[in-house]
Structure formats: structure tokens, C-alpha cells
Amino acid sequence: MALAIFVLVLLIGYELLHGSRLSLHQFGWRFLITRDWDVLNEKLGALTFIYGTLVTSAIALLIAVPISVGTAIYLTEVAPLRLRQPLVMFVELLAAIPSVVLGLWGLFVLVPFMRDHVDPSLEKLLGFLPLFKGPIYGIGFLSAGVILAIMIVPIITSVSREILRSVPGLQREAAYALGATRWEVTRIAVLSYAKKGLFGAVILGLGRALGETMAATMVIGNIPNISASLFAPGYTMASVLANEFTEAVSGLYLSALFEVGLALLGVTLVVNAFAQLLLKTFAGPTIKPQH
């Protein structure tokens, strides 16, 4: 089975590579660091899309990780037993909302709210940072990041909850026996035991954020743009594929879109490898469960 997945990834990679050979030949590696997306003159580069994908995913993680892990801890350690099941159901319901519906909600509810309330207050409080300067449309990196955060919260929460639940009761009991408070038990006995698993949950969420298409497309603004301001509109790799694939007629243009897909696969692999490395370096050995 594991081999089948490996073969599948290889096949997808091969198909993308095959489709993008024209563009690879024409632009070479500069494709990845070129900002232009000039379809008419066929000067194409993916940098703006890579930037958009990374920035929106980073915002999504910044917002979603504390909320998800906090929710998971609450659900396994703190919440009264009879409350747990209904709350879990709500979280899973959130995961079941189709992304196009979230996108519509984003466009008609979230975007006006961001434009009228969130963005102006951010500008007032943190306007000295280049991140929160510039004209406010409501549509842009920040709104896309928020939508992505909403989409990955249920995934990270569900997986985190399973991981926290799998922490042996003995761990907790031992900590209590040493006179630890509830918070100390959670921190020392549960979280440090589960951190590797929690990290994995975050990576799963990140994977979804990187590849999410419809919801991000509807609120990001869809123009190739690199800007320090999070209020500015941009474009993600998945969005440009969704928007332009069906109408790309010229061979080179189509091939360049294939290469964007290839770059998306590459970015996902690099981010995952980097995360693994981070985990190996900082997480240290996991405490083996006692039997």
C-alpha cells in the first residue's frame, strides 16, 4: 500500500514534468524566481504564486495552530465529559463544509468585515509595520489566510485530539502523583509526550492550506503581486491553475501552468522535508510508552 502511494506521487510528478517540458526548456530554473506573468508576450514566472501560497499558508498556520491545539487540549483534558461529544461533532461539521461555500461566505461576509473592522484596527495598532500598511480592499493575503485558517482548524483539531487521547493514562496519573497541577500535568505529561504527533497534525493542516484552491481564489484578489502589505491582493499557485487552466490555448502558456503545478508539488515536498528536519532537530526523542 505504502509503495502504491509512492508510485502515485512519482506518476503525478512525471505527468507534471512531461506537461511542463516546453516551459522548462524555455525558462529553465529562472521560472521559479521570475516575477512576470505576461501571457501575451509569453514571459512567465511563478515567483508571485509561490510567494502567495507561502504567505497565506503561514498566516493560516499562525492563526490555526494555537486555536486547534488549544481546542484539542480543552476537549481531551478540560471539558466536562458530556460536553465533549457535541463539541467534537461541531468541529467535524466545520470540516465538512465544502470549500466553495466557505469561499462564498468569505467573499460576502468575511471580506466586508475585514475591510470595515479588522483591517482598519490592525492598521491603527500595528500600522508602523510594513505588514499592515497600504490601501485596504478587504480582499487580499490576510483574508485568504483567515479563510485557510478556518479550513484547517478542524483537521488539526481532530488529529490533535486523537493524539492527545492516545497519551497513556499512566502518564497523567504519574504526574498527578508527583503533585502536579492540572496545567502542569497537561504541559509536562501530555504535551511533551505528544509533541511529535501534534507536529504531524500541523503538517497535515499545512498540506491542506498549501493546496487549497476555491476558497482562497475567491478572496485573494487573483493578481500576480508581491507586496509586504498583508492587505494587498495576490495570487496562489492553486488559484492560478484553477483560474487559467481551462482557457490556456497556447502551448507554452499551458506548459507554464503545468510547471506551476510541478512547483506546487515541489513546494509541498520541500516544506514537508523541512518540517521533518525541524522535528528531528528540536523535538528530541519521544518518551516510549510504558507497558
Binding site: 501571457v39 467573499l107 480582499i139 475567491m218 493578481i223 487559467e244
Partner: protein
């Protein structure tokens, strides 16, 4: 991916062919979203004229329509931009352009408290070039005396995918502004000035963005502007008058067009006091020598009907009817199709 899409489409067509009774001929088409409302109405009405044929039209966009026609996946394509000689060079046979509808491109905007606005082409070009950035800019205020224009930023919204509406719009701006012509160009997808405005997919996507974003302006097929209750600007025509994209104004524009024998024409900023300056036609693309005689026969019969009797239906969808002399010219072209 392309193969996958094609095979999916083919599969859908096959399924439809099998479910549609054996006696019926199924004709497949794909392309423009601009035309789709007209096709939907025509297919329904035509079922009474000739119950023997059934249509399956996929509104995937003009570019996609051309692509599928070149691969002979569909019996006809539909496009709001005509095919260049270069694009047709790879075709397995001669492709004919059959104009079927003519429509105006509305300049719709979202400006609370300003239901009527007048613009000229140069101002419009400068807005989309990012050179005019505020609604109370003297260039706009000068054309709209007595209108209270807010000091709001202008957010131009354009189509992200290759679109016939973009083709008509950029054709108009290229005819007016040399700067537009050299910097942005005239095509189904162009090099939009970087950092200006927003993009959205499809007519409905653009309309949706503009509706929820005060200060936004876009170009959109007239029917979408009317259906979503957006305000749209009166544009200054070549004679110096401001006109709205009414049926009469679009028809007047079409009547000025010089129609060449191969029907590949456009008429940006036409002369005359009554015309609306941003209009275009949309074509059905067919092979002159189709490979399936039965389907070709049904298709030609339908097209003859669409460009004559069908033209009486389309005004209710805000398309201008084709003038009688053009209808006659098209019928003569359809006679050259052999099967």
C-alpha cells in the same frame, strides 16, 4: 490533465448520447460563456422546430471551445474572439466563423450614491492602467458635473482567464489609447498592469467582486450587469455623445461594421451619434467539411434557424439582433458547408 478533461467531457457526451433516444441526433458544442444564455434559450425553442436533434453545450470559455474544436472533440465551438490564421493553421480542416449574437460590454461599477456616471475611453484606459486612482479625480469629475464623487480609491476588476469579453474590452481601449495598445495589448488574456486592481474568474466572478466592493469597477457582458442590478456607465462614443449599452445603441454599432466575407471582424469605437462604443459579436465555429454527415446536417439546419428566427428571441436576453443583410450573408456561407 488535458486528456483527463477531454475524456471526461467525451464520457459525459457518450452517456448523454446513450440516454437520448436512439432516433435523436446529439450535437456537441463547447465554448464561450458570453453566448451561453442565448444557446440555452435557443436549444429549448428549437426542440419544437426540430425534435430530432438534441444539443449538449459546455460553456467552458472561448479558449477551451477553440481547443476542443481543433481536436474535433465537439461538433461546434463558440468564441467571442475570432481565431487567428495562426490558430487555425493546425486545424484538420477549414473552419468557418458564423456570427450568432451581438452584445455590448457594460462598464459596471459600485459607487454608493452615484447611480449615473459618464466616462470616456481615455479615462477608462487610465483607470485600468492605474493612472487614475481616486473617484474624485478631475478627469472623472469634469465629465460628471453636479455628481458628488467620493474620494474613494478606484479598484478595477478584470477577468483572470482568457475571455472574449476581455478581447472586446481591450480592443476598444487599444483603439483609443496608444499607451494601452503598447503596454497591455488586445487579446483574450492580456498583460494587466501589475499592482492595479483585482482579478476574478468568469463574468459572474467579476460581477460578484464588484457588488461587494465599494469603489470597484469592471467590464462585463451587459446581461450580467442587468441581472445583478449593478449601475453601469454611459460611455462617450466617437461622435462625442454619452450612450448606454441599450439594444438600440448596440444595434446601431453593429450596423456600422464592415462585415468581411470570412466574418472575422470587430468594430471598436464605431462612428455615429447613437452607437455604444464597446460592442462585439460572438461566433459559432464549424468545419466546412464536417466528418459526420448526420450531425452536420442537423447543425447546419439549427444554425440557419438561429441566425434568422432565433434572432427574434435574443433581444429578450439583451443581445442585438443581426441585421437582415448580415443574416443573408451568413446563410450563403452556411450553404458552402458540405457533408
Amino acid at each position: 490533465m488535458k486528456q483527463l478533461m477531454l475524456s471526461l467531457l467525451g464520457g459525459a457526451a457518450l452517456l448523454a448520447a446513450q440516454t437520448g433516444a436512439n432516433a435523436q441526433t446529439l450535437i456537441n458544442g463547447a465554448g464561450s460563456t458570453f453566448d451561453y444564455p442565448a444557446f440555452a434559450k435557443w436549444f429549448a425553442a428549437y426542440a419544437k422546430v426540430d425534435p430530432g436533434v438534441q444539443f449538449n453545450y459546455q460553456s467552458i470559455g472561448s479558449g477551451g471551445g477553440q481547443h476542443l474544436l481543433l481536436n474535433r472533440t465537439v461538433d461546434f465551438g463558440a468564441s467571442d474572439a475570432y481565431m487567428t490564421d495562426q490558430a487555425m493553421a493546425g486545424a484538420p480542416g477549414k473552419i468557418l466563423h458564423v456570427p450568432v449574437v451581438c452584445g455590448g460590454v457594460a462598464i459596471a461599477y459600485n459607487l454608493p450614491g452615484v447611480p449615473h456616471l459618464k466616462l470616456d475611453g481615455r479615462t477608462l484606459a487610465n483607470i485600468f492602467l492605474g493612472k487614475i486612482t481616486k473617484w474624485n479625480d478631475p478627469a472623472i469629475a469634469g465629465q460628471n458635473p453636479g455628481v458628488q464623487l467620493p474620494a474613494m480609491p478606484i479598484i478595477p476588476v478584470h477577468r483572470t482567464e482568457g475571455s472574449g469579453t476581455t478581447w472586446i474590452f481591450t480592443g476598444y481601449l487599444s483603439s483609443i489609447s496608444p499607451e494601452w495598445k503598447s503596454q497591455v495589448g488586445h487579446s483574450v488574456s492580456v498583460n494587466w498592469p501589475s499592482g492595479v486592481g483585482l482579478g476574478a474568474k468568469g463574468s459572474e466572478g467579476v460581477a460578484g467582486q464588484v457588488r461587494q466592493l465599494p469603489g470597484a469597477i469592471c467590464y462585463v457582458e451587459l446581461a450580467y450587469a442587468i441581472q445583478t442590478h449593478m449601475s453601469y456607465a454611459a460611455m462617450k462614443n466617437a461622435a462625442g455623445r454619452y450612450t448606454l449599452p441599450t439594444l438600440e445603441a448596440v444595434s446601431a454599432a453593429l450596423s456600422t461594421a464592415h462585415v468581411p466575407p470570412d466574418f472575422r471582424f470587430e468594430f471598436p469605437n464605431p462612428p455615429g451619434p447613437k452607437v455604444y462604443p464597446i460592442c462585439g459579436v460572438s461566433w459559432v465555429l464549424v468545419y466546412q467539411h464536417p466528418d459526420d454527415a448526420k450531425r452536420a446536417k442537423g447543425l447546419v439546419k439549427f444554425l440557419r434557424w438561429a441566425v434568422t428566427d432565433g434572432q427574434k428571441i435574443t433581444p429578450s436576453l439583451d443581445y442585438a439582433p443581426l441585421p437582415p443583410n448580415v443574416q443573408k450573408q451568413i446563410l450563403a456561407e452556411l450553404d458552402t458547408i458540405t457533408y
